[in-house]
């Protein structure tokens, strides 16, 4: 015979102060987990969604990011001119561009310093990145001491409005436009390759980006180019690169999330167990009546487990609701591969919500197991005696 479930639901309602406290306790735990996951999702999607499979980049072999990768200028130019796989535009120019990249010190509007990436690009870069980058105002003129700044920098970093001047060592650069992008470019400053290198007093660009002819696999190119005698290079798609950039932080965040889930989850399971134990203690007599009327222990076990699962689920729902306002909240973090600061938003994605709810169910399940087991092991006589 099945124990009517509304019996359990009613019990949750009757003991509502206890139920509410447990729900909010589980909720707080779930909210923390969801918050960490939302941070990771926000960071990861920023990088991976803007990365394109069709665009490849060439780095120095052994480099893990643009900052590490230094090219001799002449070798980079040779690569662009000679590599047959690089596609060309209608005028026969190679669809490739040399870029330099450096994290520069900038003062925050709110005070303190941070590292902002500055990128020097050739005219072809604008074409190559056209699908992810647009501009508000003007684009900088080739050969001029002008820059465009990423939209995410505008309110956060000093001297980042159109008309301002950004000092690069001893060269002043005029801000002429705002660069817009969904991806990490929105946290960068862009200018002319030659002018930036000159201003920074650096001879070396950092990477070459290019579009390959249709049907060419970058993986095959990579295998070949690594062994090249003239210009050895590591080749990878932009998406591959950007995904790799998120790996370190993702691992940190996911292990932090896992650690927190484990530790806080333990505490939440304890609370749920407590609540269920007291719920059952208060109903020992009722359980006796159920047993005496012919209910079997197994259905009683499941009915209490169900009660605990409902508790967990409600806690999960509360936790998700608490985490939901985080969605879209802008925050900054450091990309530890390049030591630069990147602005991005928390993203409470379906993955985050589903993981959180599953987590809350696990909490409910674990919290209900022992009490339900106790309830099921009661004998009718024993339970009825405890009045």
């Amino acid at each position: 015979m099945k124990v009517p479930l509304h019996y359990n639901l009613r019990s949750l309602f009757v003991r509502r102060s206890s139920t509410l406290l447990t729900i909010f306790g589980i909720g707080a735990t779930v909210a923390v987990l969801a918050g960490v996951l939302a941070l990771q999702q926000g960071f990861a999607t920023l990088f991976t969604e803007s990365g394109r499979e069709g665009l490849v980049m060439f780095l120095r072999p052994g480099a893990t990011n643009e900052g590490d990768s230094l090219w001799q200028r002449d070798r980079a130019e040779r690569l662009v001119k000679t590599l047959p796989e690089i596609a060309t535009d209608e005028d026969g120019r190679p669809l490739a561009s040399i870029e330099c990249y450096l994290a520069i010190r900038r003062a925050r509007v709110a005070g303190g310093e941070t590292n902002v990436p500055i990128r020097g690009v050739e005219p072809m870069s604008k074409t190559l990145h056209a699908d992810v980058v647009s501009v508000d105002g003007q684009w900088f003129k080739p050969g001029a001491d002008e820059v465009v700044v990423g939209e995410k920098l505008v309110g956060r970093i000093q001297n980042c409005r159109v008309g301002d001047v950004i000092q690069l060592n001893i060269t002043p650069m005029r801000v002429v436009g705002i660069l817009k992008s969904e991806g990490p470019f929105a946290s960068e400053i862009w200018g002319d390759l030659d002018r930036i290198l000159e201003a920074l007093n650096r001879p070396t660009p950092n990477r070459v980006i290019a579009r390959l002819d249709a049907g060419v696999s970058w993986r095959e190119l990579d295998t070949r180019q690594r062994k090249d005698k003239e210009v050895p290079a590591k080749v990878l798609s932009e998406r591959e690169y950007l995904t790799g950039q998120t790996a370190a932080l993702s691992i940190i965040l996911l292990s932090l999330g896992g650690f927190l889930a484990l530790v806080m989850g333990t505490a939440a399971v304890f609370t749920a167990t407590n609540t269920m134990l007291s719920a059952i203690a208060a109903r020992t007599y009722e359980i006796g009546i159920l047993l005496a009327t012919g209910f079997r222990p197994i259905p009683i076990f499941f009915s209490f487990l169900f009660e605990s699962l409902v508790l967990g689920l409600l806690g999960g729902a509360v936790g998700c609701l608490m985490a939901l306002p985080l969605n879209g909240v802008e925050t900054g973090t450091t990309n530890f591969q390049t030591f630069t600061e990147i602005a991005f938003a928390f993203r409470v994605t379906p993955t985050v919500l589903i993981t959180s709810v599953l987590f809350s169910l696990v909490l409910g399940l674990l919290g209900g197991a022992i009490p339900a087991w106790r309830a099921a092991r009661l004998t009718a006589i024993e339970a009825l005696r405890r009045r």
């Binding site: 306790g25 590490d68 920074l200 650096r202 806080m264 304890f270 167990t273």
Partner: protein, 386 residues
Amino acid sequence: MMRLAWRNLRKHPVRALLTIGSMAVAVFLLCTLISLITTLEAGVKQAGTRRLWIQSAVSLFVDLPTSYESKIQAVDGVARVAKWQWFGGYYQERSNFFAQFAVDPAKLFELWPELEIANGTKESFVGRRDTCVIGQGLADEYGWKVGDVIPIIGGLFAKPDESSWDFEVAAVYRSTKATVDDRTLFFHWENFYETMKSITGTPPNVGVFIVERTPEAEPTSIMATIDGMFENGPQRVQTTTEAEFNLQFVSMIGNLPRFIAFIGAGVLIAIVLATVNTMLMAAREQTHEIGILKALGFADRSVFWYFLGQAVLLCAIGGGIGLAIVQVTSPGLAASMASAFPGYKVLASTYATAGLVALAVGLVAGVIPAWQSSHLNSVNALRAEN
């Protein structure tokens, strides 16, 4: 009365243990989170006041010309100046991360009196160009001792055939302050300079210059003089105190402290709710007893303290266990987080804070049930079922 509280807690051992357990877990978590922040800030808090750091004003990744050294040395109030270069290599695997610096060997110990030699001698390090000195933490972790040769793969400064830089351990140091962690390898600037020159054909630059000012010199005027000296290039510099220099790395973690505070708040809310829950249950079950106590002549006030006492007792026990767990696990945690949080340490003040938080949770969680029970009508309480 306390005995009664104790007996009642023991009457529901599972519930008491679970509450104590959650409290212990929360205190452990809190201590760990706070320690992450204090560890990061230790370098700033304990920073030397005699040392000034000179770095490129443009970027963390831009080096300074070697020729700056003699110009800086000539500035009034500068007692010594030393070169300092981040090497960024790794041992065998990239994941075996620890810091290596190319330094002026003789000046290292003059500028950092907090470094004490634990094994080997200063002289053998200073005297031979292919040697290095390593921290006790590294020595313990990798089992290195004086005389061993450590092969380091150059990350930023790779040799053309990707072969390793080999450094013989001349000495092992121990650091008495958080300014230098004990997982660092220092080797000769000369070694770095000559090797790089032969690889690239051009002499390498200097990452950072470190100045020791004379005791009477005014730091702000030295900083202004040095910064002014290179105003027109070729590389502008930014001279800061050691605290500010370290702060730039701490601020890189950006919102982490706020983030940790958010997590900490979540933990606390969860734990307060759990304890309130337990205390409400206890209070509900003891309604009848409260009636008896009141009939016997116990004042509302006594009943209030009696319940508050139960909550605080639970939390104090849980907190104590939590602190014990922290004490036992912190060496292990420190070892496992050595690369991300070198010098991870739980401060005495952190223990105190967490302990106080545990008691505060007890108070907060106990107040509502205690107030409720102390205001129970004794006639009704006596009527309540046993």
